[in-house]
């Protein structure tokens, strides 16, 4: 049983990361947009939902937050998703018309600004202090069922991953995705064929950011408490690694990549503390992620589940 519990917790984290990777795949895999603000969308989803679903805390020495709404969790989840999408839209409007490098720099900087705001605007977010007592959805109902809460939440998260996967697969394989793919390959062609490229890019950015926001809400309602240190840029880079390893352009690949990354980190937890360099384990883990990322790009640029033939055809001109 206990091993199952561990599997459930790791599985829930993997599910949340999968949603993040699905959003990123819409940006990069489908549309070719360089998004480095994923941690910010994740954070906005988490904080929005947490603030909306908790009551205003009692005044205390540190409880500086002066807002709280105590709304149902489902409201928080929807609002967190929407607000993250809106933020994605706003960030993208500044630079989506320009070349990809600019978008990369702007998104990376914007994400840090978002974290700075969360950190400093304590009246809204509790600032550096932990925003606590976030309710878990349907906790009392689940308590009457013969399964543990983790089982319920695991199923909930993966049901949402499944639903999101199906929706995004259809979007990607439908006419909308076709335009995104065209934009990824060549903006000018899409323009010449009458596609409003900027609008499509903004939509893609907003939708992907929204899914990251959804992931944030699910995470917040699972871990009881959130703080700004949970949303460092390294999350964005890990999700990039997941998408590349899984295979850019493939939603199944995005999920597989996320699961691989999460389980890689968990497996190294079983290494006993007595082996050499165990104190450096967390750094070695991240170094390994760096090496794997570069190796995948070199040996298997299409990733685990990406489409090699497409990639081959796509670069046949040596461009």
């Amino acid at each position: 049983m206990a091993l199952l519990d561990l599997f459930l917790v790791v599985g829930i984290i993997a599910g949340v990361y999968s949603l993040l990777a699905i959003g990123m795949n819409m940006h990069w895999g489908d549309t070719g947009l360089l998004n480095f603000a994923h941690a910010a969308f994740f954070a906005v989803g988490a904080y929005t939902s947490a603030i909306l679903t908790t009551p205003t805390p009692e005044a205390g020495l540190l409880a500086e937050r002066t807002v709280g709404f105590d709304l149902p969790v489902v409201v928080g989840i929807v609002a967190g998703t929407v607000l993250a999408a809106v933020l994605g839209f706003v960030i993208a409007t500044t630079s989506v018309r320009l070349e990809g490098d600019y978008l990369a720099m702007v998104t990376l900087s914007s994400a840090e600004l978002v974290r700075l705001v969360i950190h400093n605007e304590a009246w809204l977010t509790t600032g550096a202090q932990t925003l606590k007592n976030i309710p878990r959805p349907m906790e009392s109902t689940v308590a009457t069922l013969p399964v543990s809460y983790d089982v319920f939440y695991f199923l909930l998260v993966w049901a949402l991953v499944g639903a999101t996967y199906l929706l995004f697969e259809r979007m990607s394989n439908g006419p909308f995705g076709r335009v995104l793919h065209a934009i990824r390959e060549n903006d000018d062609v899409a323009l010449a064929l009458g596609k409003d490229v900027t609008q499509f890019k903004l939509k893609s950015f907003a939708i992907g950011a929204g899914v990251a926001g959804l992931a944030g809400t699910l995470w917040a309602h699972y871990v009881y408490a959130i703080s700004p240190v949970m949303f460092l840029p390294s999350i964005t880079f890990l999700i990039w690694a997941a998408v590349i390893i899984g295979g850019a352009g493939s939603y199944a690949g995005a999920i597989v990549g996320a699961v691989v990354i999460v389980f890689l980190r968990q497996v190294t937890r079983f290494i006993p503390g007595s082996v050499p360099f165990s104190d450096q384990m967390s750094y070695l883990r991240l170094m390994l992620v760096g090496v794997v990322l570069v190796a995948v790009l070199y040996y298997r640029p299409e990733g685990l589940l990406g489409n090699a033939e497409r990639l081959q055809a796509g670069t046949s001109e040596g461009e």
């Binding site: 561990l6 020495l61 949970m230």
Partner: protein, 403 residues
């Protein structure tokens, strides 16, 4: 290797469900967890605490607990709740009977899981006042360092005793430092002092020159600056550069020889710098000596707290006669109750308990007398730098700080 580990975990589990009493097998080691930050922001806390813990562990494994050795399973929280949650579940799954370590950055995420798992946990570093009303046997949670509100009183009281009337408060913009600073300011202003500036110090920045300027411009009698080593060092550098000579209080975390060395012994001695720390517990000197013997260096911040936490867990198991979660939970307070025979090592405690006596564990970081929320109350010392080390100026007793 991974597989081997997993099998072991399952065996422990099987044994617990079958026998009900874990005292059953006399040879298997007792699994105890350490869940602390070994990397990222508070990455220096875990190693310090673990070295202190190992000093305790050395004699525990010579004497044995109920005839068994204690085996440590160490998990890194990476200072972030994500990693802390999966680290916690890993320990829970491995069947550890008690756990020590987690810092204030992740503790709020663990309140509920700890109580769900019924896994007794002793934090060795979380001073946060968010924990003031959480803890004790019902919550399975203790800490072996005093609350910031007590430390804050010590600092505030000393400032008042010196006749300082106005204070500028500055702090690293993170959870722990904010909590500490808020306590100082709250006490100081509550006793009639005035606060003239409130200056947060951003975490990842390259200078605090403008912040120092802002503080100096507010013309305080005294500055209270709370931060970890990194921010404190940079603040000190900018404070000295600016030629400021306003008395400066530092936070608990930097009262180490290492910090003096980092900033420079001469400037630290010349500047009007003070600090306050829990007055070392009765067992500190012998702990320090054994720490030097084992590791070849003096204990770092939270080392003594790690030592105490390990001893308390082991003694609780001895007193209760079983190494399981519930027994340890029910016996943490009893081994530290003030009316027992005072002991300061595991060996002494064990022999007293085996002789049928009650004990009062006197720790290295602190006497470890817990209040109803699992917080230790104890005396605090005010320190200044002389001869490249921290020297005691005065001490406030536990009574002075809690009334």
């Amino acid at each position: 290797m991974t597989e081997g580990e997993m099998t072991e975990g399952e065996m422990t589990e099987g044994e617990m469900t079958e026998g009900g009493s874990s005292g059953g097998s006399s040879s298997d080691p007792i699994p105890v967890g350490t869940l602390a930050p070994f990397s990222q922001g508070l990455g220096w806390v875990g190693p310090n605490a673990a070295r202190g813990r190992d000093v305790a562990l050395q004699s525990i494994n010579e004497e044995l607990v109920l005839g068994r050795e204690v085996e440590i399973n160490e998990q890194d929280t990476e200072t972030t709740p994500q990693a802390a949650v999966s680290g916690f579940t890993t320990l829970d799954q491995a069947g550890v009977v008690a756990m020590l370590g987690p810092s204030s950055s992740v503790i709020p995420n663990l309140f509920q899981p700890i109580s769900d798992a019924g896994l007794p946990t002793l934090s060795v570093s979380a001073g946060t006042i968010q924990m003031n009303d959480v803890g004790g046997p019902d919550a399975y949670l203790w800490r072996t360092v005093p609350s910031d509100s007590i430390a804050g009183r010590a600092q505030g009281q000393y400032a008042l005793d010196q006749g300082f009337e106005s204070m500028a408060v500055s702090y690293k913009d993170d959870k722990g430092s904010q909590s500490f600073s808020a306590s100082v300011a709250d006490y100081f202003t509550g006793q009639g002092g005035s606060q003239v500036a409130d200056v947060p110090l951003a975490i990842e920045t390259d200078s605090y020159r403008s912040e120092v300027q802002e503080i100096v411009d507010s013309e305080p009698d005294v500055i209270s600056m709370t931060a970890g080593t990194e921010v404190s060092a940079l603040f000190m550098q900018n404070y000295i550069e600016a030629g400021a000579d306003i008395p400066l209080f530092l936070g608990n975390d930097v009262l180490t020889p290492d910090f003096i060395e980092r900033v420079g012994a001469d400037v630290m001695a010349e500047s009007p710098v003070f600090g306050q720390a829990p007055a070392p517990g009765p067992a500190f000197d012998q702990f320090e000596q054994r720490h030097r013997d084992l590791h070849g260096e003096a204990p770092g911040t939270f080392g003594a707290a790690g030592y105490d936490a390990m001893n308390l867990i082991a003694l609780a198991a001895v007193r209760g006669g079983a190494a399981d979660r519930e027994t340890i939970t029910q016996n943490i307070n009893p081994v530290a109750r003030p009316d027992g025979t005072e002991v300061s090592t595991f060996a002494d405690g064990k022999s007293e308990l085996e002789a049928g006596n009650e004990i009062n564990y006197q720790g290295a970081s602190n006497p470890q007398d817990f209040n109803e929320f699992g917080d230790p109350v104890g005396p605090f010392a005010v320190l200044e730098v002389s001869d490249a080390s921290w020297a005691e100026l005065t001490t406030f007793s536990a009574d002075e700080l809690t009334t």
